[in-house]
């Protein structure tokens, strides 16, 4: 085959390959995940985090405002410490509260932030004071059954 024809075909091949990669990155993948936007770290202590894992979304009013950076256990307070990586463009008042919620009945767990009313905003390294733990289904069912039983015994 002629050299120029081969050159053309290889050019088409490489262009197709790059186009496929761009398609994967832009259409199939999450464009935001390519450019890591600047964030700030905020920590929150929970009595029980249920099944929360690193990289779980942090939502406020249903909008994803950040990701869980990591989950650890504090020896001092004997509670779970969750580091939240929040997007710089979203600012929350200092007295906002964090709770661990579940999407749907069996869905993944995420952290919900309810904004407070303070004038100052949360800064990098701050701690969210008001937290609400994950609802553990077994505990709820256990309490419900226990309540029912004590009700019957009372009769």
């Amino acid at each position: 085959m002629e050299r120029s024809v081969i050159d053309l075909w290889v050019g088409i091949f490489v262009a197709l390959g790059i186009a496929a990669l761009l398609f994967l990155a832009l259409k199939a993948g999450n464009v935001d995940s390519i450019i890591k936007s600047e964030g700030y770290l905020v920590s929150a202590e929970f009595d029980n985090i249920g099944g929360l894992k690193a990289k779980a979304p942090v939502k406020s009013a249903g909008v994803i405002v950040g990701r869980v950076d990591n989950v650890s256990f504090s020896n001092q307070s004997l509670r779970a410490v969750v580091k939240l990586n929040l997007d710089k463009q979203f600012q929350f008042p200092k007295d906002s509260s964090a709770s661990i919620l579940t999407s749907g009945l069996l869905g993944d767990q995420f952290v919900g932030i309810d904004p407070g009313g303070a004038l100052e905003n949360l800064q990098d390294g701050d701690r969210v004071r008001i937290t609400q733990s994950a609802i553990v289904l077994e505990k709820v069912i256990g309490q419900f059954l226990y309540g029912k039983m004590s009700e019957k015994n009372g009769d």
Binding site: M1, R3, I6, D7, W9, V10, I12, F13, V14, L16, G17, I18, A19, A20, L21, F23, L24, A25, K27, A28, G29, N30, V31, S33, I34, K53, A54, K55
Partner: protein
């Protein structure tokens, strides 16, 4: 006792032989890589090999990618329908293609389409003493023939895998959204929510580079090491396809174990 002894020495012989082959293959590949500067000095050689390994594999890659995507979409839809979450079919198709099927299946196709051809070409050049003739003319066959073939394969493979994955996603889109009628918005948005650029797409590309290197190295080595007869070349071609397939699947397991386990 003597039987036991002969069995043991056979085992020893086998071990030494396979280690020997591994050593020969490694020195061969290092020699090829050491001669790689020709790829930059004479890029038209590389372009010709990319045409041979890449462009001529395009049709099989595009068609198989499309069909794999169609099947994934259909099967995924049938399963997810039971749980009422058919919107997640986009996630299923994209993740399985980008992480596993794209790199692995295109590497297997690449080995049988381009790898076997590379082995056959080098093997026949050796059988007809073209490689020796080159050496007589002070042309280094490693630089002139083998290095461009190797690099042509290494560079073509990631592009082929990306095309395969993209075609698969388009196939999944066609069957689930266009034919069955899954919501197009849910298809794309759920896919975008779960496919991470670094974690999924980049790792898939790394996989395809590793597979491309492995398959190309096996193909050129088997061609060069083939017994210079018609039967020897045919055996070498078979060995290329079998060894490449095993190598790709084994490497895939190792890479997956490193990439996709742990926190996520």
């Amino acid at each position: 006792m003597t039987l036991f002894k002969t069995m043991l020495s056979k085992l020893g012989r086998k071990t030494i032989d396979s280690l020997w082959t591994l050593g020969v293959a490694s020195t061969f590949i290092f020699r090829v890589i050491a001669r790689s500067s020709i790829v930059i000095r004479r890029p038209n050689l590389l372009v010709a090999e990319m045409h041979f390994a890449g462009v001529l594999s395009l049709v099989i890659i595009i068609v198989s990618g499309l069909f794999v995507g169609l099947v994934l979409g259909l099967q995924g839809y049938e399963t997810l329908k039971r749980y009422g979450s058919t919107g997640a079919v986009g996630t299923l198709v994209a993740l399985s293609l980008v992480r596993e099927l794209g790199p692995v299946v295109s590497a297997l196709l690449f080995a049988s389409r381009a790898g076997s051809a590379i082995t056959a070409e080098i093997g026949i050049m050796k059988t007809t003493e073209q490689l020796s003739a080159m050496e007589m003319m002070a042309v280094d066959p490693y630089a002139r023939v083998i290095a461009p073939m190797f690099w042509g394969g290494v560079l073509s493979m990631p592009l082929l895998a990306a095309i395969f994955s993209a075609m698969g996603i388009i196939g999944g889109y066609l069957i689930t959204v266009v034919v069955i009628g899954v919501d197009s918005g849910a298809f794309w948005s759920q896919m975008q929510a779960s496919v991470d650029f670094h974690h999924d797409i980049l790792n898939g590309v790394i996989k395809s580079v590793v597979f491309g290197t492995a398959v190309s190295a096996i193909s050129v080595y088997e061609g060069y090491a083939s017994v210079p007869t018609a039967e020897g070349v045919s055996k070498a071609v078979t060995r290329t396809v079998v060894t490449s397939a095993l190598a790709v699947l084994a490497l895939d397991f190792v890479l997956t174990a490193f990439m996709f386990t742990g926190a996520h």
